[in-house]
Point group: C2
Chain length 344, copies 2
């Protein structure tokens, strides 16, 4: 009888670990491979940073409430975010798409309009890709390349004990935008005559549908000669990402609930939906903010930037990974967020 | 009323042209973009060549007769073939896959076994990618990078009048393998008790399921200091590909039917299926051989290699693109092959 292990038993990261654990490099130019936001290639001058991502209709996006132009823009931005998260500057992308005959040329033009808008905003060149037929919906695969001065890229595995944990912008908004749009979709499906109520929700809807990569933060860090000790982008929620840094750096951490940046509009939306804003920030994905650690000695340079919040610090691995709540409680951080409150 | 143009009215290449015609580069490092087998990036030393391709179940492959290991191998090789077709050496790949829960970990291991076998054979490193959920079948997107000495890459647009047209290996085998497997699949669906009859068909089945990229030809050209004037890989059939070179080089061509290399096993299979072997070579895809042009003065160096056939020469554009048959007839080459025999 053949063994059959369900993919679900490993989870996404477990599966990637499992499938890539025996890789050995053949080329000296392969500096960094699987296991970070992007891979690094040395090209005898600048180093090349490359990342890739696939987006599938019905899995990653719903065309019922995602305008194709926004989808094109976002498909590029989520990859550029990974390049910035390596402390690199994006330079080129390639784009593969597959579509069924449900889509017209005009629909694809709209999608590409968004792609080109992102390319222009971030000054990257679309340099290749292919287009195929799909039997089921829209499939997008983007690869982004970036450049970085030799060995200036920043990994996830290099945080130090005592380092400050920093977050750019604010968190939870994209998840609340998704919650809102999913709710409106449900109402619409039940009664198509009811118009969606998106009044005063532009902020959270924008966070979901048109995220930006934090080019400005990388520029600020460079201008002020602040070198993060570790960095990644926040695509799966703060809890999940800080645990990646802890695990890969063999450290623990403490986060302070009161320090976690949440936009006023996100807070209002959370209350409206009966959700805890902090839980949304910890477990909600797709904010595409940067999460990074810096030496405490860099703190004075950092406070110049209102777009950066210090939310905690790194500890020994033995101390575990915890969050201190406003009420004075201490909870263990889990990749699902701290909703469960199962143990300390 | 909104305009609606069907994608089918443009065709694949027309669609890509249409969607990418307004690209302007922002970075000096973007040397060559959309429109060739791969894009080129200058990295201040070696230049980087990058290509990407998507393969979808039910569109590009049928898992009923494609072993997953072979699929993994082929997914890599078809991209490496594009890198070689630029006269470059592949160095790294990234791989995105999406699968439904129909697939087990063991199934994916098998797929990756093929990926790694190709990586080892061609000495390339898998350096990134992601894995997602699919609601419908297996989706694969590979990006390959390669390196080339500055400006030694070979495009499709640089053939010269009078150049010899060369083809590596032999053509039509993969298409005949596909024809055979599709026929066996049909027989199986009609009567599952009948076992497939693949006796003596290893060659054509192998051509389809386990193609190789022509690393050896690129090495031979380098060793003998032969610089092709134009080059591409043959993934869509000789007719379609030579027309790309003609169009992009603003030239015409003459091919000689009797010079087109066809393996004896392919010829036998074609006769068995009632197909014309030459038509299979011209219009059948997926052979992944190299098509290139060289100056006539290089001919003496070329004849050393039995794996290279000279099949014709480049002419003025005004003379059109034709094939001279064994019977002495002259037919215009069309992207669908010369089956139609509609005009000269």
């Amino acid at each position: 009888m053949e063994t059959r292990t369900e993919i679900s038993s490993l989870g996404e990261f477990g599966l990637i670990d499992h499938l890539t654990k025996n890789i050995e490099f053949s080329n000296a130019s392969s500096i960094l491979g699987v296991g970070d936001d992007a891979a690094v290639i040395d090209h005898f001058g600048k180093q090349t940073v490359i990342t890739t991502d696939m987006l599938l209709e019905g899995v990653h996006f719903d065309l019922m409430y995602t305008p194709l132009k926004h989808l094109g823009y976002k498909s590029v931005v989520v990859n550029l975010s990974d390049i910035y998260a390596m402390n690199a500057t994006p330079t080129q992308i390639t784009l593969n798409i597959a579509v069924s005959n449900r889509f017209s040329v005009e629909a694809l033009e709209e999608f590409y309009e968004g792609v080109y808008a992102a390319c222009e905003r971030y000054q990257v060149d679309l340099i290749g890709g292919d287009t195929s037929t799909s039997r089921s919906g829209f499939i997008i695969s983007v690869t982004a390349l970036g450049e970085v001065n030799p060995d200036q890229f920043v990994q996830r595995s290099t945080a130090q004990k005592g380092d400050l944990i920093c977050v750019s912008g604010d968190l939870g908004g994209a998840f609340l935008g998704l919650t809102l749009l999913e709710r409106e979709r449900q109402i619409y499906l039940e009664n198509p005559k009811i118009q969606p109520d998106l009044e005063n929700e532009q902020y959270i809807v924008g966070r979901l549908l048109k995220p930006e990569a934090r080019k400005d933060i990388i520029a600020f860090l460079a201008e002020n000669e602040i070198r993060p000790t570790a960095m990644m982008d926040i695509s799966d929620g703060l809890s999940s990402e800080i645990l990646h840094i802890c695990k890969q750096s063999s450290l623990g951490c403490v986060l302070y609930e009161e320090k976690i940046p949440i936009h006023e509009d996100s807070r209002m939306a959370a209350f409206k939906f009966g959700l805890d804003p902090t839980a949304c920030a910890l477990s909600g994905g797709e904010d595409y903010e940067l999460l990074f650690t810096i030496a405490q000695s860099e703190y004075d340079k950092l406070v110049l930037n209102e777009q950066i919040s210090v939310v905690g610090y790194m500890t020994d691995a033995a101390e575990g990974s915890h969050i201190l709540t406003k009420g004075g409680n201490k909870f263990r951080i889990t990749a699902q967020g701290w909703n469960a409150f199962k143990d300390q």
